[in-house]
Point group: C2
Chain length 507, copies 2
Amino acid sequence: MENIVEKFKPLFSPRSVAFVGASNRPGKWGSIILGNLLGAGFEGRVYPVNPKEKTIQGLRAYRALADIPDRPDLAVIVVPPPAVSTVIDQCITAGVRACVVITAGFAELDEAGARLQQEMVEKARAGGLLLVGPNCNGIMSPPEKLHVAMPPVYPPPGQVAIVAQSGNVATSIARRVMKRGFGVSRFVSSGNEAVLHCEDYLAYLADDPRTRVILSYVEGFRDGRRFLEIAGAVSRKKPIVILKAGGTEAGARAAMSHTAALAGSDATFDAVCRQAGVVRARDMDDLVNMGVSFVRQPLPGGRRAGIITAGGGWGVLAADACVRAGLQVPALPPETLSELDTFLPPWWNRGNPVDLVAGLQREHLWKGLECLLRCDAVDGIILLGIMPALPIKPLPPRPSPEVIEERQADLLAAAGELFDRFMEMAHDFGKPVVVASEFPVHSPDLEIHMAARLGEREHVCYARPEDAATVLAGLAAYAENTRHPRPTPGRVLKKEAISGEAKQNVA
Amino acid sequence: MENIVEKFKPLFSPRSVAFVGASNRPGKWGSIILGNLLGAGFEGRVYPVNPKEKTIQGLRAYRALADIPDRPDLAVIVVPPPAVSTVIDQCITAGVRACVVITAGFAELDEAGARLQQEMVEKARAGGLLLVGPNCNGIMSPPEKLHVAMPPVYPPPGQVAIVAQSGNVATSIARRVMKRGFGVSRFVSSGNEAVLHCEDYLAYLADDPRTRVILSYVEGFRDGRRFLEIAGAVSRKKPIVILKAGGTEAGARAAMSHTAALAGSDATFDAVCRQAGVVRARDMDDLVNMGVSFVRQPLPGGRRAGIITAGGGWGVLAADACVRAGLQVPALPPETLSELDTFLPPWWNRGNPVDLVAGLQREHLWKGLECLLRCDAVDGIILLGIMPALPIKPLPPRPSPEVIEERQADLLAAAGELFDRFMEMAHDFGKPVVVASEFPVHSPDLEIHMAARLGEREHVCYARPEDAATVLAGLAAYAENTRHPRPTPGRVLKKEAISGEAKQNVA
């Protein structure tokens, strides 16, 4: 069998791209997407195909695929639905190995569309053609500067892969990854998944050396059993975090009309995730928050959280959120309490969360963190409030914009090293250290700059105590999966429950 | 009985402030908080009290309260715990009417602290002294430029009141309100609530003309029945949104050591909220998202959501989130579908969410919105994706920073009017229009600038489809409360369930 990375090379690392339906008319997809591809700096050859134009966006245009004096690896197809099938024939004849069908109006629309889609599927399968879509927003492969997609959003290269059954959600996820200062390895808006299904991309990404973690948005599965088998195998190699929509009756109806997906119930999908070792996210923010944590954090050996906080209320919120996320917040053993007693003031709360209380000193945070990392009763740390650890000058009352600017610069300069040290300690002790904090300077864009600065070094500072709990729970769920042998797929699920009729549980 | 607004005037609108424990030593609370008070531009008189200093931060210092040649309205107290009680005596003798006790080390610490607190309570009650704290972060009253608080965060004056049993959560809430471009009327970090309880502040804020909506963070109640009665009465006048922490066993333990609060179970608090007409938030973001919506949105007549979306996946996520938040997503009646048929392309999904599909035109969004507002089957609208409504020039591929800057400026200029029109339509039809969107330009700080620009006009653009659902559900919950007579308090609750022992349900 062909190596899967080799097989997908024409899709994610093509040497040349034919663009069927290329256009000079601004606002047309054939113009926007071709413009994005050229604008993103793709270094391979690009062949616009259009029967009526001589040149398109400065490139020589070809009347048909057959006229191109080359065998393009990839074809992008934006022609109307009834014409797609013929273009597929031409692709196969021309030796094209992969195509992205942007065009909508297939199974998601009506019976006639479903027939057109079926025809496309049969031809692509017979011709061994990798086919993305139809009804999709495109693909991106930032390490290759390949941007075959609608949205004007250009993620930098990175280790986070995105596979989504919705173009706008795919883009929302990419934006969130970028806001965290991280980059993207591969981006797929998989649309109707007529030929290539979500699990096919997962199988490729498992072996793709550019990808460290896979984020996915799904509305439903064509073949739930196959998803379960493949995702189970992939998640032994790399973490998969999934946001699943359509779990309510109203959501399932919307999914049906959106991508013709049979959504299945929330409870069923929870079982699928547990069995396949997939981490489940509740929304797009959770998806990205959990996803980026896998890039750098060590995996915890269990679900027991040690919380250390510079503020009492944040500690209470984190403790609640841990329990709700399926973590434990154990009492600390006497030896850990005694160790903390040696440097914390006598009125410290002697509990978990460890409340560092007001007036604390810089080294208390480091010592406290080390105590918790050393504590056998704790598998991972949630650290709330980095302010005490920051070596910046105090703010004067009502600081001027110049002072704020100066402190912000100090803060940004200090933050990278601070998080380097957190991660060093995390890896020394083999326990994740998940940090959520606000900052001692109040400046509206500080968070954004901080995220970018930290993301460059693959660090994250979360905004809420709840986010830290969600992330630690995600790390713990994946860690369990890598430790324990799983039952063979299919044991807990009846076939129709995940791939059959859309009998929904309303949440 | 004295008018409650008059009664609280010495606290939130004092003409003069005595600062007992004022200090010249940087880093001491008596220095930081006094500095903040002076830096914030308070226009009343300020009297530092310190037995050892002649001047403090440029002001003449007094040896004792009795030496001040004035009757200060408010005293701020930062002296050590054993000295507080004596200062309270002096306050009463000097005719001080309100005080803020920042000092910690009372009931949250140990038995001895609890006794000191009890002594303080008895003296304050006997002397008719309003007392905030102890163990608190202070108060702010931005319309009066009064900033008696630790954090260097200066919210502008506005209509959102914040009452929190945690100083750091209070500050986190204030930061979030500011990030939305809104301002604050009153800010209270209520600490141990030895004398003034959460519900006392609510009672005041109900009549405070500066306050439009009340956001509160609570860990527990001293007297659950009293809270229920007062909150029930207040919520007939103004919306109260509450984030309740300590609902899990681990959270309750943390709350006990933080503010000596008996937290009570989540289920009990849900019942309290329903009965008192209080809107419950799940986290700090939800709290502020829901809170600011009350400033401008009309209240819905029911729980039926109409969703209109520029992207399919966002629509599915919103439909799921609506159902989970207790809203319905009804099918649209034939006449509404027919009306939408007249301008949407033939392949539109004919469902709710109304998916405006790719390639849509600007007026489709406005016409679609009007159709849903006119539709009798719908009580409130969720509008996802404002991009089609924006009259900005298309982006070139891989836009330069200058082009992004220019488009961002156009976008910011257009957004205020866009939201003005949304709100105009909302009020014309008496149905809320809750908007969540991303923006056609990808620029890291656009969201922050957009929030500030919209907030100036009391508009909000939410970041996630789920946020829009949460907000619409919050508006609906409050609307039900204002419409229906509620049963008399205490019917559904046994006394010990909300004020007695901390028997927790672990979620």
